[in-house]
Each structure stands twice: as C-alpha cells, then as structure tokens.
Symmetry: C2
Subunit: 368 residues, 2 copies
C-alpha cells in the first residue's frame, strides 16, 4: 500500500499518479536561473502549483517570498538538504525567506517536549542551513511557538490561524488529511498561517507571491492553505505557489527518514560513519554476481549510491551521465560506484563540517 | 427540551439537576465579604467548583486572579451586568482582573467581522463595565486577537492554546460540547488558554488561583480547561475555580438574550424605552383578573419584574421581602409591582448613563 501524507510516507511512490491524484501541474519550463540547481534540471523537483507567478517575479526582478518549515525531529540528513539548497537559490534571486521551526506541530504530532524540540531545531537544523549557505540576514527565522518579539506581529499571525478555523469544515479536514486529531487540526491551521501570513500588513506589507517548496507529502497543507486563503474575505491573499520534489531514497529504499538511522546519512555524520553506511546499507542496482553484472549491467534508477550523486552530490551532468552509462553497461561495478559516492560524501562532509563550526557561532543567539 | 451549552440556552432550567449533571458543588458558605453582593446572598450564584481556594485567598489576603470573557454580540443588558458586579466585588477584594473580548470566538461561532466585533466590545461592553465600577488600572483587558503589545506574552498565550490540542481527543470534545466544528474547537482551546495563561511566568508569575465567574451555560469551557490544565505537564497549573450564576430571565421568559430585543433591557436603553418594555413584555406572575389576584395572590418566582429587583436592582433584602410578601398576598398588583421596577430602573439608568459618558473618555484609547 502506498501512503503519502504529511505524517507518513510509505510504499513505492508513482509520481505520475501523484500528480493526477493531487491535481499538481507538471513542470514544462522554469526560469534559466533555476537551472543552476541539479534538483531542477534533473526533474527531481517534478511538479508545482502556480509556479508561473514566481517565474514572473524572478524574470522581472519583483519581490517574492519563499516560505518553508522544518520539523525538528532527529538528525538533519541529505533529504533535508534539498530544501536548504532551494532556499539558498531563491535567496540569491532576491527572495525574502520565511523559515519556521514547526515546534508546535511537532509537539502536537510527535514529542511533547518543547525545550528538546527547540534545541534540536537550532543545533541540528539551523546550523546546517547556515552551513549550506543560507543568509540569516535575509531570512525571517522563527519558531511557531515564538513568532516575534513584536506583539503586533505575533497577534496577527496567531489570529490568522484561528480565523482559518471558521472557513474549513471537519469533512474537508478529513478529505484532505484522512485521519485527523485535534492536535493535527490545529497544526494544519497554524501551517496555513505560516504560509499566508507573509502577505499580512504586519509582515511584508503588500501582497507578494509566496512560494512553498516542499516534498510531495506536504501537499495536503498546501491544499488547505489555498482553500482557506480564498475564503477569508478580510484579506486579498494572492494564491500560494508551491513546488514538489521527489523523496531522496533511504539507503535501504523507501524515503530517507530521520526515524531510521540505517536509512539516512546525517550532515553531522563523520565521513567514516557515512562510508560505513553506504557500504553496508545502500541498496545496490547491481547484479548478484560479478559475471552477471558484467553481462547485464546495473540499474542506476534503483541504486541508492547513484541516486545520492544524482540528487546533487555530483553536480556535473556529464560526469553523472558517464557514471550512469558505465554502470548500465556493466563496466562500473557496485563497489566502484559506492567508492565514487563515498569519495564525494567524504569531501562534502569534511568541508561542510568546517562550515558548521562557523555557523555554530551564528546560532548562539537563538539558544536559551 | 432543555439545552444548556455555551452556544445555546433554551427551555426551563432545573438548577438542581444541572448541579448533578455537570458535577458542580453547591454553595455551603462563602467569605463574608461576598455577602455584600445580592447575587451571592440571594443564591443567584448557586454553585461552584473549587471555590475554597478563592475563599482562602480572600480570607488570608493572598493574591488571586479573576478571569472572564465577553462575547461582543448585540447590546450589554441586565444579564451581562451580573458578571460586571462580581468583577467589581473581587477587584475591591484585591483580585487582579483578566477580561478578554472573545472576538476570535465570536468570529468563529457568530459574525466573521472583526472590526465590527471589536467596536461593539469597546463602545458597548467595556464602556458599561467601567460605568459599573470596574477599575481599568487593576485589570488586564485584552482582545483574543490582540493579546499584548509584548511579543513574549502573546507567544506564550497562543502557544498554550495550541499545545492544549495535544491533550484533548475528538471524543472528549464531543462529550463536553455535543456538536462541534473546527471553529468551535479552536475557540474552546483559546478559552482554555484565556483561563489558564494568567498562571504562566510571562503573566502573574507564580501560580495563583484563578476564579472564573460564569453563567451556568459556560461550564463546558471550565471542564475542558480543568482537564487540559492537569494533563499538560510542562506547567504546574493550580486547578481552576469557578462560580455559576443563574440566568436572569428574559422579559418574556427564557434567558435574557441580546439576540432578542424584546427579551432584554440594555444598559443603553432610555428610561422611557425600558419602562415601555417592562409594561409591554415583562412576564407577570399575577392572576388573570383583579379579583382573582386579590384572592390568590401573585407568584414572584416567575414574575420577571420581581426577578429584576431580586437580581440586584433592589439591594435591600427587607424591602425585597416586603414586595414579595405583598405580591403573594394579593395586596400588590402586577401594575404596581411593574411601577416599582420601572422606578428603580429609571433611576439606575439615569445615573448609569451619566457614568457611561465619563467612561467613554477612558475607552478612547482602545478605539482604532
């Protein structure tokens, strides 16, 4: 069975089917500036809603907002890295970033320990975002539980979440989310406020397009936010835009998930640990025997080491193509492919962990 | 059929039955200071939960908080006056008052027009509270939608409402409220925060007992707040205390309600209009004919003019007893009883409306 909800992803996901089921739009074109990101040009960002409004803003150098949230549970891994890369890209294109720690959602749907959640958010998530290039100065970073030091801003944000409750029925909640609890419901309303409050006069002022780049499992939140925004007549909300990226496979298949340490490589893993995980857990698309592999070749589409390269660790398209070709032909063996990935990861982690040390100094002010 | 919920009251209410159904405690004793209020000594405040904690605070001159909310719909009438009188009493006994305008609840359960709701709250409700003697300086008056200018306070208040969602199931919501909508659910969570946030470190600091004086229909909110407070382990909430007053009868019977102008006398009604309403609409406990009335006497228990006197307009117990006795004996006629009530109301409204003019100057700062 395939399940794709904000709180659970399992099974083999057919993205074509997801596009139809969710009513997403396929990407036909995007601004050339987005091409710099492997995620875009390799079709990993595979669908959108109303991205035209964002393309138009990028092309005409108009203001826009990019909003996303992070769920502070477990380790920041290569799956999370995809969102950070998109934020850094949009920031370079002039976007104002809104980045929220979904601590109230995590409290309501996962671990009811706010202090621990907030510490993880800072030490694990924010530190990695900064090390990946996010500029805090062009970013409104906040906790759902502590929107602002400015009461007017906080009041506007939380009131919006409360007011949305009038405009959505229980049956709609059930249709969008399936099973629902009071905690998930209030979380969903708060998420709608996260996505839409940048347009309030207390924040960016005039209505600006807001892009929400998410994994495909987060679309229910978008559907709720889009519906709610058009029903609340007090505000002339510009309809939300969103993009959807495919899930980075976990080492053993499925989705890379922070709840299973054998599925992920964390950005704080030592190069040695990462190498060990690749060798031991990364699912191979190769054949059972050397002889068979030389004859039939490997399948890069299901090979997790290859996918890690494809999701961005090998930014050079030509080099990636060559690896793919050689793997398919049987020239490149699984062990050799893993060695390439390990080399790339080792280099990345070493450099990244230096940048992490610098970033740690920047996040001190958020620790309490 | 009898319905008593926060959103609907109808039918003839048996308060003895309500005490058993809701699990309230009957009043056996209260501090002598409370005796000054006719509502207390005449048994109109008929039940409580954990009032002992408040008695103890009053008797030992310890700090306590009295919290209540107002629903800014329609006119402020004699039914609403009961709450104001209690606030003024407790303020005189040293309590800090928390008074909220339930504008988000009204938006979600009644009229989705925040500006209009807020204007009514100030011009109609707050003005009358002040004219009835509430001291704004010893009162934290706020809108649910605008908790504070201080972001820390707002964040703590709204986060508390959100966190409560984890601790209440849908089935509990249904058991407490009967029919429930997303709007009513978020309103209920926000009300729980209204009642409990005075105990947070961002507000009164150390845990202080909080008394919530309400009409009997509001008990579901208390049950939710009491349950939620004991489940949220982050805070050592002192259990809520509450008192329950009977409903002032509407002129034609039932509950005095701002949704039916022939049921209420507003504190902004002219003395002439009030007199007209009493004459025309006030249900009489008298007999059908003069002869019969002289013989059998009237029934003050169902006579609305008498009840208006009993609910406080005639503060002198002896005078009230005399009126009751003479009405029962048939000596006092319905027209004569109405004349007494009209005289009292006329005097009260004239004096009150002078105080209203003064109060209007104080509320200017809340108008926007």
């Amino acid at each position: 069975m395939v399940t794709v909800t904000p709180w659970e992803v399992k099974g083999n996901i057919d993205y074509e089917k997801l596009i139809k089921e969710f009513g997403l739009q396929e990407f036909k074109e995007f601004p050339k500036e987005c091409n710099t990101l492997p995620l875009f040009r390799r079709g990993i960002i595979f669908a959108h809603r109303d991205f035209g409004r964002i393309s138009e803003a990028i092309e005409n150098k108009k203001k826009f907002v990019v909003m996303t949230g992070l769920m502070p549970s477990g380790k920041f891994h290569f799956g999370h890295k995809m969102v950070a890369e998109q934020l850094v890209l949009y920031q370079s294109l002039g976007a104002k970033i809104y980045l929220t720690v979904a601590d109230l959602e995590a409290y309501n749907s996962r671990i009811p320990d706010m202090k621990a959640l907030q510490q993880t958010a800072i030490e694990e998530y924010l530190t990695n975002y900064l090390a990946l290039g996010l500029d805090l100065k062009k970013c409104d970073f906040y906790f759902q539980s502590k929107r602002s030091k400015d009461g007017k801003k906080s009041n506007a944000y939380y009131s919006l979440a409360n007011m949305f409750a009038r405009h959505i029925t229980f049956n709609e909640f059930k249709a969008i989310y399936g099973e629902i609890t009071p905690g998930k419901m209030t979380s969903a309303l708060l998420q709608a406020a996260d996505m839409l409050h940048p347009q309030l006069p207390e924040f960016e002022g005039k209505a600006q397009p807001v892009l929400v780049p998410v994994g495909a499992d987060q679309d229910p939140h978008l559907r709720l936010g889009r519906d709610a925004s058009q029903r609340i007549k007090e505000y002339n909300f510009v309809q939300l835009s969103s993009t959807y990226h495919k899930f980075l496979p976990g080492l053993g298949g499925g989705k890379m998930s922070s709840s299973d340490p054998t599925s992920y490589i964390a950005l704080s893993d030592s190069p040695e640990d990462a190498a060990h995980k690749i060798k031991k857990y990364a699912f191979s698309g190769g054949q059972a025997t050397l002889e068979e592999h030389r004859k039939k070749g490997g399948n890069p589409d299901v090979d997790v080491s290859f996918q890690i390269l494809r999701y961005g660790l090998e930014p050079d398209d030509k080099k990636l193509q060559k690896i793919s070709d050689e793997y398919k032909s049987g020239k490149l063996l699984t062990g050799e492919l893993k060695a390439i990935t390990i080399e790339k990861i080792t280099y990345f982690l070493k450099e990244h962990q230096k940048r992490r040390e610098k970033a740690k100094k920047q996040v001190d002010k958020f620790l309490f």
